[in-house]
C-alpha cells in the first residue's frame, strides 16, 4: 500500500478572512507563531510518506510559493514525483467553495501521469495531524468509491478516491451535474461513500473567529500535544532569528512566543510570532500578533489579530471580541479610534432624501459611526424635496461663490445635526432645485458642480481625516482634491452600483477648473476617474469585490478595478437593530430565537391577509424586491409553472418595477390564483408580514452587490434561498445535509432548473424533516449581520487608510 496515494492540495478558495487574505491565500496565513496554515497539510503529507503533491492555488499565490519553495522541507524536492504548483489557466472561472473538476481538468496531465492508484484531495487551511494512509486503509477495506474525512461535525473538504474514478469525473466535467467532490458526495446516486472520522483536534480556518480561536487553542496543553507531536512533527520554512529575549519588565502568562521577539511588556494568553517588539507597559491579551509587529509603550491590546509589521502606537487601546476580533492590516499603524473625522459625500442619505438603498447605507452608517465615537459629517445637495420637508429646521450657515464652467454661481450652505451626525446642504437654484434627484439631461453637470462645491467648501469647514465618497455622483472629488490645497487628504470611494457611471463630454473636467487632465476619449466616465484616483476603493461585499474582477460583473470597468486590486476591499453592509421580530410592532406576534413557534401565527396571518388558503402546512415562498431583470425574474417565469403545479406551494411577492415582468407575473398569478398573491407597488403591503410569515425568502439574483432582504429574512427566521453571488454568498451558508449546518439554501448558476431544484430540496426538507428545518431557523436567527458589526469594519478600514 505504500506510496499508493498522491495528494491534491486545494487552495483555490477564499474564505471570509477579510483583509488577512487580501494579499495572500488562506494557506499562506501565519499560524501558531512560526507556521503557515499549509504547513499542517504538507507535514501530514510528508509524515504519511506521500511524495507526489499538486497544489492548486488561487489568485495571488506569491507568498505561498515563497513559503513552499521546492518543497524540500517536506521531502518533496525529488527526482521522481515531487511538488507541483498548478496555477489556473482560465482566469474567468470564479472561485467556488472548493476545487472544481474543471479546475483539475486544466492540469489533467498531472493526474494522468501520477503513478499512484489513489488520490487524496485535501485543503490548505486545516490545522490537524493525521495519517492519510489510515484513511486509505479504511477506504480499501470498506470497498467504497469515495471516502470523506470528517472531524466531529466538521466537513474538511478532504476525500479519498481512486485515480481511475477521479480521472473519469475530471474528463467529463462539462457533462456532470456536480462540479466538486462535495457536490458529488451529496448528489451522485449509487455512489458508495464511507465517512472516515478523524478523532484528534482539527479545525478549518474559515473566518477571523476560528482563526484567532484555533491559534489560542495551541496554548492548551492537551490540544498542542496532539498537533505538535515528536513522532509526526510539523515542518515549516526555516527562518533565521535569535532566541526570544525577555527584558527587565516582562510578565508572561500562558503564551507562546517565537524567536527574535523582544518582550518588555505583559503578554497574557496570546501567541506572538517572530521578531515582535513589545515595549514596557504594553499589555497584550487573547491575541495573535504576527511577525515584525511593534507594540509601543502602554498600549493595550485585547482580542486582536495583528497582521505582519503592524505598529501599535503608544497608549493605544485596541479591543475586539473573540467572535469579532479586531484585525489590523499588514503594515498598518494603529492608534485608538477616537478623533477620527470622516466626511461623507453622496447624492442621497436617509432620512432627508431617498430613492434607493444608497440613502439607507449612508444614513445608517454615518449614524452608527457617530454612535461609536467617530465624528461623521454628510454633505448633500439641497433638493427641492429636502427644502419642502426640512427647511424650517435647517440652519443657514453662509454663502459662497463657486466658479463652474468659468461662470460664478452663488450657493448657500445650510446645516443640521441629526443624531450626532453633522449634515451640510448645498443650496443652488441653478443645479439642485429639481423635483427629482436624478433623471435630468444635465445630471453630470449637476454632480460635477456638487463635487466642485464640496471641495471648495473644505476651505471653510473643519478639517477631516478622510473623505468617504459614494458612487459616481462624488467620483470627481479625488482629482479635485489633488488639484487643491488639500492635496494629500485621503479618499475612499465605495461602489454601491457599478451600473451607473456618469458619462459626460470631456470638457466637464475643464468646467470644474482642472486643466492638466489627460484625455483618452471624447467622453469621460466619472466612476472610472474615481476608481483611478481615490486613495482606496471598496464595495459592499467581499464576494462582489471578487466578482467585479470578471467582466460579467465588472463590465467596462473591470480593467480599472484590476489595476487597483491592491487597494480594493469588500465590506458587507449590515441591517439596523430595528429589524427584530422581538420588537417589531407591525407583525402579528412577536417572537425570538427561543420562541420561534410564534412565527407560525405570523404565517397564518400572512395567508389571511393575502387572501390565500390558511393552512400551516403550505410552503410559502416570499419575495420583497424591485421587479427588474437583475433580481432573477427570468428564472422565476421559466420555472414556476411546473413548480406550482406539482407542489403544495404559495408564492407571495411585494415590489414594483419593470412593466414587462409585472405583466408576465400577473399572467402567472391568473394561472394559479389560489397559490399566488402579487403586491405591486412599494407600499402595497407591509414587507415585514412577508419577512415574518414566509417559509423561504427567494433571491435568485443574477448579481447582488450586497442585498439586505436576505439579512432581514435571516433575522426573522425566514430561510433565504439565494443564488451564490455577491453579498448573498457572504451571508447565506448552504444547508449541509451531512453536518446539518448552514442558515439557508443556495444554488450556483443563473439557471432556472438549478433554482427549481434548490426550491424542491428546501420544500422536501420542510415536508420531511421538521427537526432539521427548525435547527436551520435557529441558526438563521442567530446570524449576525448587524450594522454595529459592519460599522466596526468600516472604522478599522478608515484607520488603515488614514494612518498609512
Amino acid at each position: 500500500m505504500n506510496n499508493n496515494l498522491f495528494a491534491v492540495v486545494d487552495a483555490t478558495f477564499k474564505d471570509n478572512l477579510e483583509q488577512l487574505t487580501l494579499h495572500r491565500m488562506p494557506g499562506a496565513l501565519p499560524f501558531a507563531g512560526k507556521y503557515r496554515l499549509i504547513d499542517f497539510t504538507l507535514s501530514n503529507v510528508r509524515n504519511s510518506q506521500i511524495t507526489n503533491v499538486a497544489i492548486f492555488p488561487y489568485g495571488n499565490y506569491r507568498s505561498l510559493q515563497d513559503h513552499v519553495g521546492s518543497g524540500k522541507k517536506w521531502d518533496l524536492d525529488r527526482r521522481r514525483d515531487g511538488l507541483f504548483i498548478l496555477p489556473p489557466k482560465n482566469l474567468y472561472i470564479s472561485p467556488s467553495e472548493m476545487i472544481t473538476f474543471q479546475r483539475m481538468y486544466e492540469h489533467i496531465e498531472f493526474f494522468k501521469r501520477s503513478s499512484q492508484d489513489y488520490a487524496l484531495i485535501t485543503s490548505a487551511n486545516i490545522v490537524w495531524n493525521i495519517d492519510y494512509y489510515d484513511c486509505l486503509a479504511q477506504h480499501i477495506k470498506n470497498d467504497v468509491d469515495v471516502t470523506e474525512v470528517m472531524y466531529q461535525n466538521i466537513r474538511l473538504k478532504t476525500f479519498i478516491i481512486s485515480k481511475k474514478l477521479l480521472v473519469e469525473y475530471i474528463m467529463t466535467y462539462d457533462s456532470l451535474e456536480y462540479r466538486t467532490m462535495i457536490e458529488l458526495v451529496e448528489k451522485a446516486p449509487n455512489l458508495k461513500i464511507n465517512i472516515y472520522k478523524h478523532k484528534n483536534y482539527t479545525r478549518t480556518i474559515t473566518d477571523t473567529f476560528n482563526y484567532l480561536k484555533s491559534n489560542l487553542d495551541m496554548l492548551r496543553f492537551d490540544i498542542g500535544m496532539k498537533i505538535f507531536t515528536p513522532e509526526r512533527p510539523v515542518y515549516s520554512k526555516e527562518k533565521t532569528a535569535p532566541p526570544a529575549r525577555y527584558l527587565k519588565n516582562a510578565v508572561i502568562e500562558n503564551s507562546m512566543i517565537s524567536s527574535g521577539s523582544i518582550v518588555d511588556g505583559t503578554v497574557i494568553n496570546s501567541v506572538i510570532a517572530r521578531d515582535v517588539k513589545i515595549a514596557k507597559g504594553a499589555i497584550i491579551k487573547n491575541s495573535f500578533v504576527m511577525s515584525n509587529s511593534v507594540i509601543e509603550e502602554n498600549s493595550n491590546i485585547n482580542y486582536c489579530i495583528l497582521d505582519k509589521q503592524t505598529i501599535v502606537k503608544k497608549n493605544s487601546n485596541i479591543e475586539g471580541t473573540l467572535n469579532s476580533p479586531y484585525v489590523s492590516q499588514k503594515e498598518q499603524i494603529v492608534t485608538s479610534f477616537e478623533d477620527l473625522k470622516v466626511l461623507f459625500v453622496a447624492s442621497e442619505s436617509y432620512p432627508f432624501i431617498k430613492t434607493g438603498g444608497l440613502a439607507d447605507v449612508i444614513g445608517s452608517l454615518s449614524r452608527n459611526l457617530a454612535r461609536q465615537g467617530v465624528s461623521a459629517t454628510v454633505i448633500l445637495p439641497l433638493y427641492k424635496k429636502i427644502r419642502e420637508s426640512f427647511i424650517e429646521s435647517l440652519k443657514s450657515e453662509f454663502t459662497k461663490t463657486i466658479i463652474y464652467d468659468e461662470e460664478r454661481y452663488k450657493v448657500r450652505i445650510y446645516s443640521y445635526r441629526y443624531k450626532k451626525v453633522k449634515y451640510y446642504f448645498i443650496d443652488s437654484f441653478d443645479f439642485f432645485d429639481t423635483e427629482n434627484v436624478y433623471g435630468y439631461e444635465n445630471d453630470t453637470d449637476r454632480f460635477a458642480f456638487f463635487n466642485k462645491t464640496v471641495v471648495d467648501l473644505l476651505d471653510d469647514l473643519d478639517t477631516f481625516d478622510l473623505v468617504h465618497i459614494n458612487d459616481w455622483h462624488a467620483s470627481l472629488i479625488p482629482i479635485l482634491i489633488d488639484n487643491s490645497k488639500h492635496k494629500g487628504l485621503k479618499t475612499l470611494l465605495t461602489i454601491h452600483n457599478i451600473d451607473y457611471q456618469g458619462i459626460a463630454k470631456n470638457n466637464i473636467i475643464k468646467k470644474i477648473g482642472i486643466d492638466n487632465f489627460i484625455y483618452k476619449d471624447e467622453m469621460i466616465n466619472f466612476l472610472e476617474i474615481g476608481i483611478n484616483t481615490a486613495s482606496k476603493l471598496s464595495t459592499v461585499s467581499p464576494t462582489y469585490k471578487e466578482e467585479l474582477k470578471y467582466e460579467y460583473y465588472g463590465k467596462n470597468l473591470t480593467y480599472s478595478l484590476l489595476n487597483r486590486e491592491r487597494d480594493f476591499y469588500g465590506i458587507l453592509n449590515g441591517i439596523s437593530s430595528s429589524f427584530d421580530p422581538q420588537i417589531d410592532k407591525a407583525i402579528k406576534t412577536n417572537y425570538s430565537v427561543d420562541t420561534f413557534e410564534g412565527k407560525l401565527e405570523n404565517k397564518l396571518y400572512l395567508q389571511k391577509k393575502m387572501g390565500l388558503v390558511v393552512n400551516k402546512d403550505k410552503f410559502i415562498i416570499g419575495m420583497v424586491t424591485r421587479i427588474v431583470e437583475q433580481k432573477g425574474f427570468d428564472l422565476i417565469l421559466n420555472s414556476f409553472d411546473s413548480l406550482l403545479e406539482n407542489k403544495d406551494i404559495q408564492f407571495i411577492l411585494l415590489g414594483a418595477g419593470d412593466e414587462k415582468y409585472i405583466a408576465e407575473l400577473e399572467k402567472l398569478e391568473q394561472r394559479f390564483p389560489s397559490k399566488i398573491k402579487l403586491n405591486i407597488g412599494y407600499d402595497a403591503t407591509n414587507p415585514n408580514y412577508i419577512y415574518s410569515g414566509a417559509d423561504i425568502f427567494l433571491m435568485p439574483s443574477r448579481f447582488e452587490p450586497c442585498g439586505l432582504g436576505q439579512m432581514i429574512a435571516l433575522k426573522y427566521g425566514t430561510l433565504p434561498l439565494v443564488r451564490k453571488t455577491g453579498g448573498l454568498n457572504d451571508t447565506v451558508l448552504k444547508y449541509d445535509p451531512i453536518t446539518k449546518k448552514g442558515n439557508g439554501f443556495t444554488f450556483n448558476n443563473y439557471d432556472a432548473n438549478e433554482m427549481k431544484n434548490g426550491i424542491i430540496s428546501a420544500y422536501n426538507l420542510y415536508k420531511d424533516n421538521k427537526k432539521d428545518w427548525n435547527k436551520l431557523i435557529e441558526r438563521a436567527m442567530k446570524s449576525d449581520n448587524s450594522l454595529v458589526k459592519s460599522t466596526q469594519k468600516y472604522i478599522e478600514f478608515y484607520n488603515a487608510i488614514v494612518k498609512n
Partner: protein, 376 residues
C-alpha cells in the same frame, strides 16, 4: 575551475578545557547563545562575505559536526561549484595523516586548495565568536600588496595569553611573539590569515617536519624570509571561547551587552543556524522571566532570571534558574534551584536538586550521578 578565494576552516579542535561540554562533540559544535553552535559564526561570516568555496578540516569527534553542517544549505553554502567539502584525516602511501597542528593540517589538504587554483587562501578557525566581513580584510590584503595578512584585535586584559603582533606605522608586521612574557603591544592575532596561495605553498614546502603550527612556526619562518606581512585590525567583538569561563562570559555578553554581537538585529549580517523544527516556546505559568533568552520548543513553568535557554527544555513548577546557560533538551524537575551553571545537552535534573555555584560550573549527567551518590 578557478576561484579567487578558498577558505580553509580548522574545526578539528578537541577543546579539552571545555570539560564535559566537549566530552562527545568537537568544540565547533558546542552550543552557544541558545540556538547557535560555535561553527555558525564562521560559516555565517563566510556566507555573508560571499565566499562559498570552503574546506572544513575535521579530526576530533567529527560525526556531530558533519551531520550538523551537511551540505551547508543552512548558510546558503550549498552551491553547485565549490560549497563545503569535508576534509578528514586519511591514510596514504606515506602512512596515517593525523594532523599535528594548524599548518600541518593545511599542508595535508593542499591538493584541495590546488584544484581551485585560487589567488588567496583564507585560513579560519571554527570555534571563535565574532561577526566579520572577510572581504574587508582581503581588500586590505590586496591594496597593501601584502603576501600574508593576519587579522588582529586589541586586547585589554593580559596580552601574554595571545600571539602578539608588533607593527610599524603602515600596519606592516615587524615581529610576532606567541604568548610572550613581555608583550611589545596589545595587538593580538586572531588566528585568521589571508595568504597569497603561492606564498603559502612555498612556506609549507620549505618548512621542516616539526613545523606544524601557523602561530608557532610558519609566521616566524615567513618573517625570517622577509615575506610581506600585514596586520588587519578587526574592531568588532571577538572572543576565543577556549575555556568554560570564557564560553560562559561570551554567553552572558548576549544578555548584558546585546550591542556586541547584535544577534537581535540580524537583517544586515545574519547569524544563520539550523532550525530545530519545534513550535515556539510556551510559557505556561511563570512568576518571573527577566533578562533572558529562550528558544523554541521550551515549556516553562518556573522562574528564569538572567539565563539563556536552548531549545526543547522543560522547567517545572517552583524551579528557579539564574545566571545559567542551559543546553538543548534538558529536563528540570520541580523546585530545583540552579545558579551559575552550564547544563550540558540532555541532562535530566530531578526534583528538588540544588545546583548553586560561585564559579561557573559545567553540569552533565555524570556530574548529577555523583551528586546523587553523595546524597545517598
Amino acid at each position: 575551475m578557478k576561484k579567487k578565494v578558498v577558505a580553509m576552516v580548522l574545526v578539528g579542535g578537541r577543546g579539552t578545557r571545555l570539560e564535559a561540554i566537549t566530552k562527545s562533540t568537537a568544540k565547533p559544535a558546542v552550543n552557544f547563545g541558545g540556538k547557535y553552535r560555535l561553527i555558525d559564526f564562521v560559516l555565517s561570516n563566510l556566507s555573508n562575505s560571499g565566499i562559498s568555496t570552503i574546506g572544513l578540516i575535521t579530526q576530533y569527534e567529527p560525526y556531530e559536526l558533519l551531520s550538523y553542517v551537511e551540505h551547508g544549505s543552512t548558510w546558503d553554502l550549498d552551491v553547485n561549484e565549490g560549497g563545503i567539502s569535508f576534509l578528514t584525516p586519511y591514510t596514504s602511501m606515506e602512512g596515517e595523516l593525523w594532523q599535528k597542528g594548524t599548518s600541518h593540517a593545511i599542508k595535508q589538504h593542499f591538493r584541495f586548495i590546488e584544484q581551485y587554483n585560487p589567488e588567496y587562501v583564507l585560513i579560519l578557525s571554527g570555534d571563535h565568536v565574532y561577526k566579520m566581513n572577510y572581504n574587508l580584510m582581503i581588500q586590505q590584503h590586496i591594496e597593501s600588496k601584502s603576501e600574508i595578512t593576519i587579522a588582529s584585535f586589541k586586547v585589554n586584559d593580559d596580552p601574554s595569553r595571545y600571539g602578539i603582533l608588533d607593527i610599524d606605522g603602515q600596519c606592516k608586521v615587524i615581529s610576532f611573539d606567541e604568548k610572550p612574557e613581555f608583550p611589545k603591544s596589545n595587538l593580538a592575532s586572531m588566528g585568521i590569515y589571508v595568504f597569497n596561495k603561492s606564498v603559502l605553498k612555498e612556506l609549507l614546502e620549505n618548512s621542516e617536519e616539526d613545523d606544524v603550527d601557523f602561530g608557532k612556526d610558519i609566521i616566524p619562518l615567513a618573517l625570517k624570509q622577509k615575506v610581506d606581512i600585514c596586520a588587519y585590525e578587526f574592531e568588532g567583538y571577538f572572543r576565543d571561547v577556549g575555556t568554560v569561563k570564557s564560553l560562559y562570559q561570551a554567553n552572558m555578553d548576549l544578555l548584558d551587552n546585546p550591542h556586541y554581537l547584535k544577534v537581535q538585529d540580524y537583517k544586515d549580517f545574519p547569524l544563520f543556524t539550523k532550525s530545530v523544527n519545534l513550535p515556539p516556546h510556551h510559557i505556561v505559568s511563570s512568576k518571573k522571566i527577566t533578562n533572558s533568552m529562550i528558544s523554541d520548543g521550551c515549556l516553562i513553568y518556573g522562574e528564569i532570571i538572567h539565563s539563556i535557554l536552548s531549545s526543547g527544555i522543560i522547567v517545572k513548577e517552583g524551579s528557579i534558574i539564574k545566571d545559567s546557560v542551559i543546553h538543548p533538551n534538558v529536563k528540570i524537575g520541580t523546585n530545583c534551584h540552579i545558579e551559575k551553571a552550564i547544563i550540558v545537552e540532555g541532562s535530566v535534573i530531578l526534583a528538588d536538586t540544588s545546583l548553586v555555584f560561585d564559579e561557573v560550573t559545567v553540569v552533565d549527567n555524570d556530574f548529577l550521578w555523583k551528586i546523587g551518590e553523595l546524597n545517598e
